[in-house]
């Protein structure tokens, strides 16, 4: 079961301070839906404002990316650029 960590203090407001979760999900989309189920509103915040780093590689807006059972998943602020 992938271990998901929300990086940074900003999103913890919605999770009551918790930042590490075990999430039963095999794709990014399913992970977001499960987190939103547990913490309503978190799904939108992830969709709109966060990137997903899977085993160190950063994905943005990538619902279909697969999560292996031992994947290290970090949710970090979305990256832009100039």
């Amino acid at each position: 079961m992938p271990r998901v960590v929300i990086s940074g203090v900003a999103a913890r407001r919605l999770t009551g301070g918790q930042s590490e979760f075990e999430v039963e999900a095999d794709t990014v989309h399913r992970m977001i839906r499960e987190l939103d189920r547990r913490f309503p509103g978190l799904g939108r915040q992830i969709d709109e404002g966060m990137a997903v780093a899977i085993n160190g590689e950063i994905f943005q807006d990538a619902y279909a990316e697969r999560l292996a059972p031992d994947a290290e998943v970090y949710l970090i602020p979305k990256i832009g650029g100039g």
Binding site: V5, S7, G8, V9, A10, R13, G17, E48, G49, A53, N55, G56, E57, I58, F59, Q60, D61, A62, E65, E72, Y74, I76, P77, K78, I79, G80, G81, G82
Partner: protein
């Protein structure tokens, strides 16, 4: 010289839009005219902070030749809505209020009204006739002054987010962010030396030479055409649709050539205003910003305070690091303090880290993205502090970085573990470069610094059409700021196996190619290149099918080699190779036009790392700093067109040097910008710069078909610290407040107050 058996990728052909640009024929934003066109002009606030009591436009409307006048009342009211669009967090209500002030003006230069008239002179006169009554309010400019409890508040509905318990009083602190790793308190206890320093930077402008410009035409049935220079025609379309309440399909944005952006043109200022004017007037409207308006009314990079604390062992291993960032967002929330936090220590493998960042509003223009937004600021502090630590420990600064370097498997402070990175290679290359060992003379010094940027992928569409004569047209959706169009043609030519000059790339308008995210984030060669390559590959599959039909064999028995269909081995049949041109000629009869379009959301962009070496000479009498020599080493993945990769590196370095030595916004006591022009906002000129040597290290990115990595933004991250470190080496003087302009350096040298002996 091509590489690895590639024939086109890696070579340096002339860019397809080059001739137009050297003969002056290329059409930029201000070069367009439309029949019946009116000239628009914007009225701007002279106050840094004021309530708008009333706006009387009657005299302006009465002036002969004036055809439209708009204020915020002519724009729909937009609810506050956070969305990540463009190159940073965007609140559309804020964007709308930035384009046209609603109840308050928040900075000197804030737009309050606009007119459209039959000539520029009449438009200027009409602007003067608009009577705005203000209630001037106290203003605040500096980021720490804006954070003080008694600071004038810009937004009564802004409460600091990211702090518990939720505040009840409005604040200018929009957001607090933070990241931790390990246990910094324990880490500092283990440290044998501790160094704590404070650094500051001032807002700087991207200073693209082309001011913002657009020509728009809003027809009575609601359909609009926009010609504008921007970093993304789809962004312009989306933002105008949102701000004016128009269906996206009713807006067609045609991208002009763009005269520089660097992040500053990843949002809109003029287009929504021009649309409102055009709708009212029933005629096309052209608006071009003056240079003064660009400085006063568009988004610079954030000014900042950076406080760094490092704890290390005497052998150079850093065991604890703390960082406090205060970034100034300008009039509305949204500075890049988050990326600033994440990039600062990304080059290093540190066991215990604590980072805190504040996003703070103040009465300055809303900041916009500027090349690796947030990272140059925090890296200036961290890379300078590392240099101070190296001197303290008497360890070579490159060696110090080597000891602490991030490698594959390093866990970052913000969480993810790195894989497939090229940082150490840049440090090694710096150590081994002849520049690092070259002798220095009197008043000369050498500094090094490293940098990091994420790079992004994102949505891109591209089409590849085979023309009847066997040439190819590639349509993509990214304005070409730095030569990317050439790389698109090169990648397509490589896949198709035909000469580069038989592939012509076109930057399509929003109705002519699928959705494409804007040009920025170092994404175009990576993401759009991926789409172009995939489209060309789909075309090759189709070409093989057509050859198979012509030969009456199975498509599996056909291969594509160097622009020809060939039978796959003797068993397939003894057929003469068919050229792309021959197949194209028969395409109508073999199934129709040969064409493919691909739309993707490219993932796996892969970060970039750089290490720079800078030599300076300081004139102790004037405080003038001359850059003698500059070497910029960067991991570029694979250079599709090496000249344009070198160009990105050299350009970023020059901007970083300007940021270090001269550039800043200077405000008077009333919060008005004093230096809104290129005379007093001093960017580097040709005589300031030496040749800049780019060293490209290629650690190919496995996620891209040709190994490309984003390159455009990383080069601006190291220069400020590299220059400051070189000045410290030359003079013994540690300058911690940018810019290190001659009067400041001269004063410091005279006073000798900042001279710090190694502890």
């Amino acid at each position: 010289m091509a590489i690895d058996g590639l024939k086109v990728v890696g070579t340096r052909p002339i860019r397809p839009d080059g001739v137009d640009k050297v003969i002056g024929r290329a059409a930029f934003g201000a070069d367009m005219v439309m029949p019946g066109m009116l000239w628009g002009k914007i009225k701007r606030s002279p106050h840094a902070h004021a309530r708008i009591l009333s706006i009387d436009t009657s005299k302006a409307r009465a002036l002969p030749g004036v055809k439209a006048v708009v204020t915020a009342a002519d724009f729909p009211s937009i609810p506050s809505e956070e969305a990540f669009m463009g190159e940073g967090p965007m609140n559309f209500r804020d964007l709308s209020r930035n384009c046209m002030a609603a109840d308050k003006v928040l900075y000197d230069g804030h737009a309050v009204a606009a007119v459209a008239a039959t000539s520029q002179a009449i438009a200027e006169e009409a602007v003067e006739l608009i009577d705005v009554k203000y209630e001037v309010l106290p203003h605040v400019i500096d980021v720490e002054a804006a954070m003080a409890p008694d600071a004038p508040i810009l937004h009564e509905d802004l409460f600091t987010s990211g702090v518990e318990p939720k505040p009840t009083k409005p604040s200018n602190i929009a957001k607090k962010v933070g990241f931790t790793k390990g246990d910094v308190a324990a880490g500092f206890k283990e440290a044998e030396v501790v160094i704590e320093r404070r650094y500051t930077t001032q807002p700087v402008h991207q200073a693209y030479i082309e001011p913002h410009a657009c020509v728009v035409s809003a027809a009575p049935d609601g359909q609009c055409t926009i010609w504008s220079s921007s970093q993304g025609q789809f962004m312009v379309r989306a933002y105008c649709a949102k701000l004016l309440g128009i269906d996206i399909a009713n807006i067609r944005v045609v991208p002009a050539e763009i005269g520089g952006g660097f992040g500053g043109k990843t949002l809109v200022y003029l287009e929504p205003v021009a649309l409102a004017l055009s709708k009212q007037a029933g005629r096309p409207v052209k608006i071009v910003m003056s240079r003064e308006e660009v400085f006063r009314g568009t988004g610079p990079a954030a000014g900042s305070v950076i406080e760094v604390k490092l704890g290390a062992k005497r052998d150079g291993r850093i065991v604890a690091a703390e960082l406090l960032l205060k970034y100034q967002a300008g009039a509305f929330p949204g500075s890049p303090v988050g990326p600033g936090c994440m990039c600062a220590f990304a080059m290093y493998d540190l066991p215990n880290v604590n980072i805190v960042g504040y996003d703070v509003v103040s009465n300055r223009p809303k900041v916009a993205a500027y090349r690796a937004p947030g990272a140059p600021n925090s890296s200036f502090g961290v890379e300078s502090c590392l240099d101070e630590l190296a001197r303290m420990l008497k360890i070579d600064p490159l060696r110090l970085r080597e000891i602490n370097a991030a490698k594959d498997g390093t866990k970052t402070a913000h969480g993810p573990t790195f894989t497939n990175i090229g940082y150490v290679q840049t440090v090694e290359a710096a150590k081994n470069h002849p520049h690092y060992k070259a002798p220095l003379g009197p008043n000369q010094g050498r500094g090094v610094a490293s940098g990091f940027w994420f790079n992004i992928g994102g949505e891109s569409s591209a089409a590849c059409h085979i023309n009847e004569d066997g040439t190819a047209t590639v349509v993509e959706g990214n304005p070409d700021i730095g030569g990317s169009r050439a790389s698109m043609a090169m990648m397509a030519a490589e896949v198709l196996g035909i000469p580069y000059d038989r592939v012509r790339p076109v930057v399509g308008d929003t109705s002519s190619i699928g959705f494409t995210f804007l040009t920025g984030g170092s994404r175009v060669t990576f993401a759009t290149g991926m789409a172009v390559t995939q489209a060309a590959e789909k075309v090759v599959v189709e070409l093989k099918k057509r050859a198979a039909m012509i030969w009456d064999i199975s498509p599996e028995a056909v291969e594509w080699k160097d622009g020809y269909a060939v039978p796959a081995g003797a068993n397939a049949g003894n057929f003469e190779p068919l050229s792309l041109a021959e197949i194209a000629l028969k395409s109508g009869r073999t199934g129709g036009p040969i064409s493919a379009e691909v739309s993707i959301n490219a993932q796996g962009a892969g970060p970039g790392f750089a290490t720079h070496i800078c030599d300076v000479e300081v004139d102790p009498e004037t405080g003038h700093v001359k850059i003698l020599r500059y070497t910029a080493i960067q991991d570029v993945g694979r250079a599709i067109h090496p000249s344009y990769v070198e160009g990105q590196i050299q350009g970023g370095v020059a901007q970083g040097i300007g940021w270090a030595l001269n550039e800043e916004y200077i405000y008077d006591k009333d919060g008005r910008l004093d230096n809104a022009g290129f005379l007093d906002y001093r960017i580097p000129v040709a005589s300031d710069m030496p040749m800049i040597e780019p060293v490209m290290i290629e650690v190919p990115n496995p996620r891209h078909p040709f190994g490309a990595r984003g390159v455009g933004e990383v080069p601006i991250v190291p220069p400020m610290a590299a220059v400051a470190n070189a000045i410290a080496d030359a003079t013994g003087m540690r300058m911690r407040d940018l810019p290190i302009s001659p009067p400041k350096l001269r004063a410091a040298l005279d006073a000798g107050t900042l001279k710090e002996a190694a502890e």
